[in-house]
């Protein structure tokens, strides 16, 4: 091919492209143009190839012409690049503004933890700060751990306080009725001092708006030399204040749980009406809410696990996590906790308090 002709054609092709690009200097098209003319297999390189075959005499002249063209193109393209950037910036800034209220359409990564989990984690955090370790224990257990070792002998009316789910074909095995079985497991495998909390699933034959056949409890106990009822009151007051705020009050009053003595019911002040509303639905106007049982660990319990009941004293308490969550989030029907409704659960994001 004739180099002269080719040179002219390249020149005019470039000028045509250039003039159209100058009006709308799209940066992609500028890059295409650069590749077309300056790329490895571009027009300028083909001219260079042609140059090799040209007459020797013509070479200096054409050589200079090709070189000039190349420089010219390079200069134009670098100009174009600057223009393209400016043009792109202008388009980005001058286009109509987005409707920022349009909904997100990717799968939404909403996430939540179960309210009972949230309460449990918050409580475990408090108890760990108070020096307690967290234990777990079996949910299917033997009579010994759930009842006998806890001073609830067979044929004792105290067994009626906890209606038990039995296993088919295993008379002495059943679903634990409380987390107190962890006391027995822990004491039988470790020596004092003990500072333990044990949350977990528990089971009783029951089904109504405030009782479900499965529910959650947390057990706490401390065993050492010189532990007194005053320490139980101090600890109780401390965790309730940390969970419900500094204005929360606690009280204990005599009650009966076979594995503690003196035994007590723990109450906290009603955080809804502070005892000021006689028609308060939450505390029924009493100003107090029952939260669980507690007391000094009965010496019979120490003796059944082989502890020296003269040397060691201890306190224990237990309460319902579900009830605590109901109080904290003002939920009336316990069963909503266990029916898996995502709409309900979405109200409890991972970091909610």
């Amino acid at each position: 091919m004739d180099i002269r002709q080719e040179l002219e054609q390249t020149k005019s092709l470039f000028l045509t492209s250039l003039s159209s690009l100058k009006k709308t200097p799209d940066h992609m098209k500028v890059e295409e143009l650069r590749i077309q003319f300056l790329g490895r297999k571009g027009k300028v390189n083909s001219l260079m190839e042609l140059l090799k075959n040209a007459d020797k005499a013509d070479r200096p002249l054409f050589g200079k012409a090709v070189n000039d063209l190349k420089q010219n193109i390079e200069a134009e393209i670098s100009q174009l690049k600057i223009a393209a950037e400016a043009w792109q910036m202008k388009t980005l800034l001058e286009r109509p503004a987005l409707d920022v209220s349009m909904p997100v359409s990717e799968p939404q990564l909403s996430s939540s933890l179960h309210p009972v989990s949230l309460i449990r984690m918050e409580l475990l955090d408090i108890f760990r700060r108070l020096g307690f370790s967290v234990y777990d224990g079996p949910e299917i257990d033997f009579d010994f751990y759930n009842f006998s070792a806890l001073n609830i002998p067979e044929d004792h009316p105290a067994r009626d306080m906890q209606d038990t789910f039995y296993l088919k074909g295993a008379e002495k095995l059943f679903l634990r009725t409380h987390t107190s079985n962890v006391q027995v497991h822990a004491m039988m495998s470790t020596k004092p001092p003990l500072r333990i909390v044990a949350p977990g699933r528990t089971y009783r034959v029951d089904n109504d708006p405030t009782h479900t056949p499965m529910f959650h409890q947390i057990e706490g106990f401390m065993v050492d030399e010189g532990i007194s009822f005053a320490h139980l009151k101090g600890t109780l007051d401390s965790w309730v204040k940390k969970l419900f705020g500094i204005n929360a009050q606690t009280r204990v009053r005599p009650s009966y749980f076979p594995f503690v003595e003196p035994g007590a019911e723990m109450d906290m002040s009603c955080m809804v009406c502070f005892g000021k509303d006689k028609s308060c639905r939450v505390c029924k106007g009493t100003g107090w809410l029952e939260i669980g049982g507690c007391g000094m660990i009965h010496p019979n319990v120490f003796e059944s696990v082989g502890y020296d009941s003269e040397r060691y004293t201890g306190f224990a308490f237990g309460f319902g996590l579900d009830r605590m969550a109901m109080l904290k989030y003002r939920i009336d029907d316990l069963r909503t906790f266990f029916d898996g409704s995502q709409e309900f659960l979405e109200q409890f994001p991972v970091f909610s308090r």
């Binding site: 359409s105 990717e106 799968p107 990564l109 996430s111 939540s112 933890l113 179960h114 984690m121 020096g131 370790s133 967290v134 234990y135 777990d136 224990g137 949910e139 299917i140 033997f142 044929d155 004792h156 105290a158 306080m161 039995y166 296993l167 088919k168 074909g169 095995l173 679903l175 497991h185 495998s189 470790t190 001092p193 500072r195 333990i196 699933r201 089971y203 056949p213 499965m214 007194s228 009822f229 005053a230 320490h231 101090g234 600890t235 009280r251 204990v252 009053r253 005599p254 009966y256 003595e261 003196p262 035994g263 000094m296 010496p299 004293t313 898996g340 409704s341 995502q342 659960l345 979405e346």
Partner: protein, 847 residues
């Protein structure tokens, strides 16, 4: 238990206290008051009236037209049907606005054309009990216009109390009064006992009593009472029973109930005519012996049940319920009163066996005061006599002799209390020895001996719950008041104790999985046995090595779960029914396996093998002694269709295996395990409810930590999803995962500062070669030195790729730690890699 304040006032003077104060005192003693009720039988104006005129109704032969003076000497005309109405009578008049307990609301109206502005009431209509016929006749001195209930002192306050099972002594009014008296430091008045007895009749001559086993019946007393009539009880007695929630029947039955409520001691009265042969025996039943109890049910007795018999057979189930054959009838006149003490354990067993929980069995189970039995019997006789007199029967005779079989007298129970121990337990600084003695004294404990630190007390026979020192400490604390115990934080050795790290790990697993766009749910741990069928788990599979409940609430809640799949699938379906699609739920829970189940013995697919052997650190310090069921901590997640609903930017897209894989992989990233995690096609029959073409075992290193997959289409249908519309499910064994998390990791500290060179490669391999096969081959590439990463970006099959093969394209990066690479160096390693892949997986470079 309902406690009438009027009644309680018989034993302790509480007139100075408001009901709320009494309630608080009871609660502070551990006798929890659940509610306080003002016990009034009627509401509205029912007042004392005087009949100032009384004439026959012209159109009726039994009605009278009365003019009655009442409030503020107003006079109303009232039509009355009673025969005993007459001029000058003081009556109870219900005025318009009153509502009577039988449901009648008083209005102004007309009776037989005559205006009537109220009603003259009978006892029955006032709700005072069953009375005589006709309207109530009030005393001539009754002040006109005064509220009738107030005048008759019929208003009462009733405390509904909830009693803990240790306080058997408080199952009677006297016990509650005794506790209150001790706390309020006031006197207790014991009820009067002795009636007028006669030696003209004799209990011993009327009935013989034999107690065959003294363990079954520690004491049995019988007293003969003659000349009774089954009349309605006097008003005072009926009112008290009504307030206590008991229905008055007749004076004989009512007195036995009254004394039971008063003393806590159950009482039974037999019609003398029904004691055949004049003999009473207490013995164990013969196996198969029958007794029709008062409730009309025929009971087939067992050899361990204790019965009361006459010469012909059982007439009562001891301590629980009498027999229909010896019941008090309307024509009963002569009775034998039984007051006894039966073995609490056996009463409980028999009562449980027959599902027969009665006021009597409730008390015997908890224990009665054996020393008080003769007194109670005398008290019953005394009240039978007195109450009968009150209703006009003066013929009641009480035998002077009481039969009392009490072979082994109860021994006094001494308990020592160390003052130092008490102080240590309660840390009440101001509590001195005198105060301690006083508290216990008020509760009926007798100080036997006292040395420096040691006080020896004798426990009264009604306090069966006081057994050792700690019980006395509690008594002192109760009377002193728990509020007097200070609140202190313990002084502790701050050395932290052991905690199973799996517990905290489980919480972080929950948080991190939630952060992958999931919602935590909690379900019961129960499933239905038929769920295994719905999940297509075949007989013999380890997932069927389940534990069953003997008394589950229903067939739906009768089996302990071995997988969380059934409950999560139901939850997703439930959400769909509520219009929530695309739910993403997870749960942590336990899977329960019966170690002794035959399915645990068959060789399971390898994923499950360690479920039989590996029990390491499932729980903190669980005593590993017995063959208890295995409880494995698991976590499961479920992703519902669609992946994404239709939106303004895209069409609805459906969910598949890879969406589940994305969640699991992202989640494992939180623990630094995404690099070492692998997904391998699920072993056949390992998890039968997943679709075998779209399911995997999840490995971290060489440990299978869980499984993931699309639901088997048939299972999808079983749970009411469309065949192709099922969710994606995964389940993780937390204990195995945690073991991997805990393994030490190596960290790269020196990172290259030089640029990486990228090359894209396409290979053709046989279709059965997996991406993982290629990655594993790359990992084993012996000449590897510059290769940095190897990432799939395209998968293609079809023309021109030959059938049975597929094309995979990878983006490969090379990088050196010490310099910028040139093409020659990269090409050299790349050539080696291509040869290696050709050799190991048959990969051909696609040109």
């Amino acid at each position: 238990m309902r406690i009438s304040l009027n009644w309680l006032n018989d034993y302790i003077n509480l007139k100075a206290y408001m009901p709320t104060e009494i309630s608080q005192t009871l609660t502070s003693l551990g006798i929890e008051v659940e509610s306080i009720e003002t016990f009034k039988t009627y509401s509205g104006p029912v007042v004392v009236g005087e009949v100032v005129e009384c004439e026959k109704h012209p159109d009726s032969d039994h009605l009278s037209i009365c003019k009655v003076k009442h409030i503020d000497d107003k006079i109303s005309q009232i039509v009355c049907g009673a025969k005993n109405v007459k001029k000058g009578l003081k009556v109870a008049v219900a005025l318009p606005g009153a509502a009577l307990p039988n449901g009648i609301k008083i209005n102004t109206g007309k009776i037989r054309g005559t205006a009537s502005e109220g009603m003259l009431c009978s006892d029955d209509e006032l709700g005072f009990g069953i009375g005589t016929d006709g309207i109530k006749e009030l005393d001539a001195k009754a002040p006109v216009g005064k509220d009738v209930a107030e005048y008759l002192q019929l208003h009462d306050t009733v405390f509904e109390i909830s009693l803990t099972p240790n306080r058997a002594d408080c199952l009677g009014y006297v016990g509650i009064a005794r506790d209150l008296a001790a706390k309020l430091q006031t006197a207790l008045t014991e009820p009067p006992l002795k009636g007028q007895t006669t030696d003209k009749i004799s209990s011993a001559k009327t009935t013989g009593v034999t107690v065959q086993n003294k363990d079954a019946c520690a004491r049995f007393s019988a007293l003969y009472v003659q000349g009774l009539k089954a009349l309605p009880s006097p008003m005072w007695l009926q009112r008290r029973l009504l307030a206590a929630g008991q229905r008055p029947i007749n004076v004989i039955v009512d007195v036995t109930n009254y004394v039971m409520l008063e003393s806590g001691q159950p009482i039974h009265a037999y019609d003398l005519r029904s004691i055949k042969g004049g003999k009473i025996a207490v013995r164990f039943a013969k196996d198969g012996e029958k007794l029709k109890t008062l409730d009309g049910a025929e009971r087939v007795l067992r050899a361990e049940d204790i019965v009361i018999c006459d010469a012909t057979g059982p007439i009562g189930l001891a301590g629980i319920m009498g027999g229909e054959n010896s019941e008090i009838r309307e024509d009963t006149t002569d009775v034998v009163i039984e007051v006894a003490c039966f073995d609490p354990r056996q009463v409980r067993r028999t009562s449980k066996h027959f599902g027969l929980h009665t006021d009597a069995s409730h008390r015997f189970e908890r224990g009665v005061n054996v020393d008080n039995i003769a007194n109670v019997n005398e008290r019953v006789a005394f009240l039978l006599q007195k109450a009968s007199q009150d209703v006009g029967n003066n013929d009641v005779q009480i035998a002077a002799d009481m039969i009392d079989s009490y072979p082994l007298k109860s021994k006094p129970k001494p308990i020592a209390l160390r003052v130092s121990r008490l102080r240590k337990m309660l840390s009440i600084p101001a509590l001195n020895v005198e105060k301690i003695k006083e508290h216990l004294n008020r509760l009926g404990l007798k100080l036997l001996d006292s040395t420096d630190d040691r006080l020896l007390f004798e426990v009264p026979t009604w306090r069966l719950d006081l057994e050792r020192e700690i019980d006395l400490i509690e008594e002192v604390a109760r009377l002193e008041g728990y509020e007097r115990i200070p609140s202190q934080m313990p002084m502790l050795n701050i050395e932290p104790s052991y905690e199973n790290p799996l517990i905290a790990f489980t919480d972080s697993a929950r948080v991190s999985l939630a952060r992958c766009g999931m919602h935590e749910v909690i379900h019961y741990s129960f499933i239905a046995a038929k769920d295994f069928d719905l999940l297509m788990i075949p007989d013999g599979h380890i997932l069927r090595a389940h534990v069953d409940l003997a008394n589950g609430l229903s067939d739906e809640l009768n089996t302990m779960q071995t997988t969380l799949a059934a409950n999560l699938l139901k939850a997703v379906m439930q959400n769909r029914r509520r219009g929530v699609r695309g739910s993403r739920l997870f749960e942590t829970g336990r899977a329960y396996f019966d170690q002794n189940h035959k399915n645990m013995k068959a060789k399971p697919p390898s994923y499950w093998q360690s479920y039989i052997s590996d029990k390491s650190r499932l729980m903190t310090h669980q005593a590993a002694d017995e063959k208890r069921p295995i409880e494995r901590p698991i976590l499961a997640g479920i992703l519902d269709q669609p992946r994404q609903g239709k939106s303004w930017q895209s069409e609805e897209s459906s969910l598949n295996f890879y969406d589940g894989k994305a969640v699991v992989t992202n989640w494992l990233k939180s623990f630094g395990l995404s690099q070492s995690c692998r997904f391998e096609a699920l072993e056949t029959q390992s998890v039968p409810f997943l679709n075998p073409t779209a399911a995997a075992t999840i490995f971290v290193g060489s440990t299978a930590i869980g499984y993931l997959g699309e639901l088997h289409p048939a299972v999808s249908r079983n749970f009411e999803f469309g065949v192709g519309d099922g969710p994606v499910y995964f389940e993780i064994d937390l204990q195995r995962l945690f073991a991997k998390v805990e393994e030490p990791k190596t960290f790269v500290s020196e990172l290259s500062k030089f640029p990486a060179t990228l090359r894209d490669l396409s290979f053709v391999v046989r279709s059965n070669i997996t991406h993982q096969n290629i990655l594993d081959a790359v990992d084993k590439f012996p000449e590897r030195s510059l290769l940095k990463s190897f990432q799939l970006f395209d998968l293609y099959s079809g023309n021109p790729i030959p059938e049975g093969s597929k094309s995979l394209s990878y983006s490969v990066a090379f990088q050196s730690i010490s310099k910028t690479l040139n093409d020659k160096e990269v090409d050299k390693e790349l050539d080696g890699l291509l040869k290696w892949l050709n050799h190991s997986v048959g990969a051909e470079l696609r040109v």
